[in-house]
């Protein structure tokens, strides 16, 4: 723009005080934001076979993921009807029943209560009819690719609506071949989860702290992150494939011919960030632990045997190391901001009119969900 139109000295983002550090905000946010929306609960690969189950904690609530006899992933509250004991504490494999460790109440893979040992008297077990209607409380869930999402509040708009902006943008990608890679990167970040999420939306920081990404596709050719409901799509094109940025720079195999030189990223509010690269998928899972602590896990999906074969082991190592380095570059400023924002000198974020539409909308989404509790449709 020829006439300037540069940064204006106003506060553009207006989350309430305490949003990045107070315990009470964190607790309310867990309920309004993380239970009110669709959040990532786990991955199908973690329970590969019928009868496999694992416990997870989402937004402070104990859940369990189980693969049914027919192969679907189901999600239940991990709480035994009897005394409220978590049903499983560790992942279990190939079970026919999920059995509470406290009094042995047994549930089938559909969550139905089936047996209460010794319940009626010393030698009498209660065999429960499968039609009794008694059972674990189901959690509203949905699956995309290998990712399992839950809506704990049960009132969010259908998952398809949340995910549609991603699904439609990668409609021509063949995701059916994707298999989980042989490493997960784990990070423990001394910062509020919103700082991590804001960093995902911030397409402006790349030139300054990610030299390898900027070298791959420089800032001047990048576009700002878009806003589409609860989804924030971003996209850029690169000229030449490179090791680390794609699995196979020779590009013998890509998920989409049209997307052979394209990187899509999707932040799905609030907890998951997905990058769709030409030949692999990178999934960031964000878990708020405390107002000032967030765990972050990066999962990788590659095409077919490339996920864990020896032929591609070195190429995968380069991909993992690239992300390890990139994420480490982000964590410094994120942890710094956790301190900096407590300073009396910090008066709110300044937004770039070009880059920060997404950041502004992110703030409004947080505020909307925090307010929604008090509205008619809470």
């Amino acid at each position: 723009m020829s006439q300037g139109g540069g940064l204006r000295d106003t506060v553009a983002l207006d989350l309430p005080e305490g949003a990045y550090g107070s315990e009470s905000f964190f607790v309310r946010e867990r309920e309004a934001v993380f239970r009110g929306t669709w959040t990532l609960a786990g991955f199908g690969y973690q329970i590969p076979e019928p009868g496999d189950a694992m416990p997870v904690t989402v937004a402070g609530l104990p859940l369990l993921l189980v693969r049914s006899e027919t192969g679907e992933v189901r999600v239940f509250h991990n709480v035994c009807l009897h005394r409220g004991c978590p049903l499983i504490r560790e992942p279990v494999r190939r079970q026919k029943r999920l059995t509470c460790l406290y009094h042995g109440w047994a549930y089938d893979l559909g969550g139905r209560l089936r047996a209460r040992p010794y319940f009626l008297e010393g030698g009498r077990h209660d065999i429960v009819d499968r039609k009794s209607g008694l059972g674990l409380e189901p959690v509203r869930s949905a699956q995309w690719s290998d990712l399992v999402f839950v809506n704990l509040g049960g009132k969010a708009a259908p998952f398809e609506e949340y995910a549609r902006p991603m699904l439609s943008r990668v409609a021509d990608y063949d995701l059916s071949m994707l298999r989980h890679g042989d490493r997960v990167l784990d990070f423990d970040v001394a910062g509020n989860w919103k700082l991590v999420a804001e960093n995902w939306l911030d397409a402006l920081h790349i030139f300054a702290i990610h030299p390898e990404l900027n070298d791959f596709a420089d800032q001047s050719g990048r576009e700002r992150t878009e806003v589409d409901g609860h989804m924030f799509p971003g996209v850029y094109e690169f000229a030449e494939p490179r090791a680390g940025m794609v699995l196979d720079p020779g590009r013998r195999r890509v998920m989409s011919r049209e997307g052979a030189n394209r990187v899509w990223s999707f932040y799905m509010f609030p907890s998951v960030f997905i990058q769709v690269r030409p030949d692999h998928l990178v999934v960031f899972d964000l878990v708020p632990v405390a107002p000032d602590r967030t765990r972050e896990h990066i999962h990788f999906y590659f095409m077919g045997a490339a996920a864990d074969d020896t032929e591609n082991a070195e190429a995968r190592r380069i991909v993992y190391e690239a992300w390890d380095a990139i994420n480490a570059q982000d964590i410094g400023p994120i942890e710094g901001m956790q301190e900096g924002r407590q300073s009396t000198a910090f008066r709110g974020l300044l937004a770039s009119p070009y880059w920060d539409e997404a950041l502004t909308h992110f703030t409004h989404l947080v505020n909307s969900h925090m307010a929604d509790g008090g509205l008619a449709h809470g």
Partner: protein, 424 residues
């Protein structure tokens, strides 16, 4: 009495030339009428000068050009009254078409960006929350105030250009904190969530609110957190068509309304409008003008279709084609068209039989002059205005209805949001 700075006075005296003197005269007079105590800087302007509504437009712009005038803030312009290229409507007067195009080229000589869109907020570098601008497109003014949290009154020809030339406007109306508070409450809590979680809900609500509240500022309560930006945009566009809405609050959603208290000066005694499903159904009837005969076309993109909406459209088309003989025209900006092209989506739209119209407007002006027959739209604003400018019968539906109708060649309501039980 408007108090002026030394710079303001110097311009008013003509020390910076006759163009700025004239512009300053107009800005000061407008500020005086608005009751402003002072002038304030703006950081951008959006003008409707580009739309030819008579020779006076061209004369004014020519005069400013001849006086050497240039806008001093980033300035975008509305669609013209004709497209810059291609054939216009059957009844368009060729002289009017040349006049329209000449004016569109002339405004660029004042330093305006060749945006030709009614949705300047879709362009990169748009104003952000708290910024003061001078905009003159009604739907954009509501969007700026309500959804972005920027500040503008509705400006008019040619005062909007004057503001862009001096970079100043009167500090009154929606530029001031106290004037942005809600004066009534609109409660949609009784409307089925399925309707409110659909673009349709906001189109209808906008139409209803506009006709009910005139120029008052409503605080709408009960909209879900899933309400999308484009839906809020539709709400504002519809309400500034059926009424004179310039600003609204969606409590819990828009930036100046984290809660009802923040949106109002005081809640006590505020009138309250309760909206029900059957009220929204009456808005549907209001926006429909049933007609007989075959479907002629489907008109989308009032205000200009966003990239997000294009994504939804492609998703609903799902690789299918518009039936031969049906015009499916999407109105958007040249900026959005260029982005679609860069992303390889323009070809997909063309193959689907969807035509884009840029630089102009489908209900207003010359591109579709003479349009008649039975047509369909998902835009409450288009449904409101098109029967006033074209001889058309309107089938009002959702985007999904529009797509299914275009593909099948006859009007239908395919969307599950129309289930009767939702509308009581």
């Amino acid at each position: 009495m408007v108090s002026l700075t030394a710079d303001d006075r110097r311009r008013l005296r003509g020390a910076e030339g006759p163009a700025l003197k004239l512009a300053m005269d107009v800005v000061c007079a407008t500020a005086e009428i608005g009751g402003a105590a002072r002038l304030i800087d703006i950081e951008g302007a959006h003008l409707s000068e580009s739309f030819y509504a008579g020779q006076a437009h061209q004369d004014f712009v020519d005069r400013m050009i001849s006086l050497g005038a240039r806008v001093v803030v980033p300035t975008t312009v509305n669609p013209g009254s004709a497209t810059l290229r291609g054939p216009q409507g059957a009844t368009a007067d060729p002289e009017a078409v040349s006049a329209a195009r000449r004016l569109m080229r002339s405004v660029l000589r004042l330093g305006c960006r060749p945006s030709f869109t009614c949705a300047p907020y879709q362009l990169p570098g748009c104003v952000t929350q708290g910024g003061h601008v001078a905009w003159s497109e009604s739907s954009a003014v509501v969007y700026a105030n309500a959804v972005i949290g920027a500040r503008t009154n509705l400006h008019y020809d040619y005062e909007d250009l004057c503001a862009a030339l001096v970079g100043r406007v009167g500090d009154h109306g929606l530029h001031r904190d106290g004037e942005r508070k809600a004066s009534l409450i609109v409660d949609v809590g009784a409307v089925a969530l399925e309707i409110l979680r659909h673009e349709l809900g906001c189109h209808l609500l906008g139409h209803l609110v506009g006709s009910a509240v005139g120029h008052a500022i409503p605080a709408i309560i009960g909209l879900p957190a899933e309400t999308r930006l484009d839906w809020l945009r539709a709400l504002g566009a519809a309400a500034s068509s059926s009424g004179a809405l310039r600003m609204f609050h969606a409590v819990g959603i828009t930036p100046e309304a984290p809660n009802l208290n923040a949106a109002t000066e005081s809640q006590a005694g505020l009138p309250r409008l309760e909206v029900t499903g059957s009220d929204l159904r009456s808005a549907v009837n209001d926006l429909s003008r049933p007609g007989e005969g075959p479907l002629q076309g489907v008109y989308l993109g009032t205000p200009h279709f966003s990239l997000v909406e294009f994504d939804g459209l492609l998703h609903l088309l799902d690789g299918r084609r518009v039936r031969d003989g049906i015009a499916c025209i999407v109105n958007t900006s040249r900026h959005n068209r260029d982005v679609l092209r860069a992303r390889g989506l323009l070809g997909r739209l063309e193959r689907a039989g969807v035509a884009l119209m840029v630089d102009a407007c489908t209900y207003y002006g010359l591109p579709l002059a003479g349009l008649r027959g039975r047509v369909m739209t998902n835009s409450a604003k288009w449904a409101y205005y098109a029967p006033r400018t074209h001889d058309v019968a309107i089938e009002f539906g959702t985007l999904q209805d529009c797509v299914e109708s275009a593909v099948n060649g006859e009007p239908c309501r395919a969307d599950s949001v129309w289930h009767d039980h939702l509308w009581r």
